[in-house]
């Protein structure tokens, strides 16, 4: 896999997923759909919703989806959400996993274009990008 623009243009086959986006309701699917619309690279992410699942089932689903795709990086919505807690439980037995919580569209777009980076470094940069994208205007 490469992040080079010229090679990307010649490679029409979808990339293998590199991270899971997990969270409440339609948040994961919505965010991945937005990534697809903007970058055409939605396949970088697997979307996993926690709707209707117990904490144990969320953990099991994230574990099995990550294992089957060889994924080591997770993006979640809320720091205190059940998807975040489930990933933290997985990290207890597998400390090499990487978690970014509070993810937004800017976070994921940054990650998409760092295909050749170390996952930890890519996740750290993505978190910084997502944080920097938050702003409030008006009301003065």
């Amino acid at each position: 896999m490469t992040s080079s623009g010229s090679e990307r243009d010649t490679e029409n086959a979808p990339s293998a997923p590199r991270a899971i986006v997990a969270g409440h309701g339609g948040f994961p699917e919505g965010l991945v759909s937005a990534v697809m619309q903007i970058s055409g690279c939605g396949e970088v992410f697997l979307a996993v919703s926690n709707s209707g699942l117990s904490g144990a089932d969320i953990e099991e689903q994230l574990k099995s989806r990550a294992a089957s795709a060889g994924i080591r990086v997770f993006f979640t919505d809320l720091p205190g959400g059940s998807s975040t807690l489930a990933v933290r439980r997985l990290m207890r037995t597998d400390p090499g996993l990487v978690l970014v919580t509070g993810a937004n569209l800017a976070t994921l777009l940054e990650f998409v274009f760092q295909a050749d980076s170390d996952p930890r470094e890519a996740a750290r940069r993505s978190a910084e990008k997502g944080r920097a994208a938050l702003a409030a205007f008006g009301g003065e």
Binding site: G55, D57, G80, R88
Partner: protein
Amino acid sequence: MAVALYRIDDRLIHGQVVVGWGQPLDIGFIVLVDDNVACCDWEQDLYRMGVPPEMEIIFATVEAAVREHAMYAADSRQGLVVVPDIATMRRFVEGVPSIREVNVGGIHHRADRVQKLRYVFLSPDEERELRRLAERGVRVTAQDVPAARVVPVTELLGATPPEARSA
């Protein structure tokens, strides 16, 4: 102030509890009543991470929560008590008879459970436990988030007890 909500939720601390209920009720502290979590530092660290800094989280066994309940009720802040299952809530209510309302917030799918609502699945034993709670005079309702419809226990369980249903 008082304990604003006594909730049964198998996810314990998560978005619906901390944000969904926590913000509109202006919750200042959460009491997580679970015998397993109360004796495990790692689990406590995990749940502590899930609450914002302005919200205190207290971990207690059922026995300790019964003993300390008067203190929770006298706290100047609004409180929320969350337990993982119906059996734990039943034990807690038996120890604190002044509890008059219980919220069923999330009991999810398991092999021996039947779906009652989108977010409530119950085994026959759990149905019986809920009936017993209601028969004690506790107002039992299901409601996952404040904006959702309040479902009374009679509607949740239906009129027929599980033992009669299989006959």
